[in-house]
Symmetry: C2
Subunit: 185 residues, 2 copies
């Protein structure tokens, strides 16, 4: 799990990892939203009807799920488990709430928290267009600080100060975890 | 702790690590043997009289110790702890028996088992000069297999097949351990 507050650069680290490391599969989410042009079933998402999603939910088939506007998104457990069985590591790029839910179902997972060098810098970056009111920035700052405290539930902390360095740290964590005795016996 | 059977290449990996990684100090052993030409107190060893060694032993000042012929060798706890306090990682290159003793006193340490690609290859390498009898090779093979089973007490397993790769894995383990949330709070 590559996780952390939004805007911290999880996605960039994820992309770099997929390019650099072998034997890694990206987890694919399920969604009830319609397929868009250029998307493909099983590559971008697993596309489900609301009924299918609800059935899977009732059968405990998601590691985590969340509504976004009027659609549901979730991480199918089967896809993750199948790939682990086949000898792959499976990478999830996921927000903090989602990661904590995954941890409940899969405490043996490896949870990496990507942290911004400073919360102020992060909020400023999200507010790059300078259109937010001071009040909404203040609210976002408080929310971000609250999220930051969730790091204690994670295994690893990587500060995304310099992208290459952060990338190397995450890569080292994956290599190290592959060397764990408990993962080799 | 970089540990494993003798002849597996612990020393080479250790040297490479010290060159490549910063903020690492090598643990310095204490010994009752005399200082040899070119050696230096506190760099090669801490040189102790038998009486001094015994006193420290009684005061539980060693992480591990062992007799070699008529002399005693030990790992002073203070040197390790002082350097950790100062923000360094301390590297111990140590045999399997020693590592297991250190683990009793310092279970929070990071224990890396260096494994030969095959036990047969290792025993052959130790027997490089081809002077050992088949019986003594057989004995060594059995002892080595027994030692190998100790890997279950370690945190990490690194197979020293190709030196560069093994080195990178050990380096990744150290970088990853530095990112552990529990080591940052």
């Amino acid at each position: 799990m590559i996780s952390g507050p939004s805007g911290v650069g999880k996605g960039t680290i994820k992309e770099a990892l997929l390019q650099k490391l072998q034997d890694i599969k990206l987890s694919i989410s399920a969604t009830t939203r319609s397929m868009r042009e250029g998307e493909m079933e099983g590559r971008d998402y697993f596309y489900l009807s609301h009924e299918e999603f609800t059935t899977k939910l009732e059968n405990d088939e998601f590691l985590e799920y969340a509504p976004v506007y009027s659609n549901m998104y979730g991480t199918p457990k089967k896809y993750v488990m199948d790939n682990i069985q086949r000898g792959y590591d499976v990478l999830l790029e996921i927000d903090i709430q989602g990661a904590l839910k995954v941890k409940e179902k899969m405490p043996e997972g490896v949870f990496i928290f990507i942290q911004p060098p400073s919360i102020e810098a992060l909020v400023q970056r999200i507010n790059g267009r300078g259109k937010d009111s001071p009040e909404s920035i203040q609210t976002r700052l408080a929310a971000c600080q609250e999220e930051m405290a969730m790091v204690i539930h994670y295994d690893y902390l990587v500060i995304n100060d310099e992208l290459d360095e952060a990338m190397n740290k995450v890569q080292s964590i994956i290599i190290a975890e592959r060397c764990r005795v408990k993962n080799n016996y």
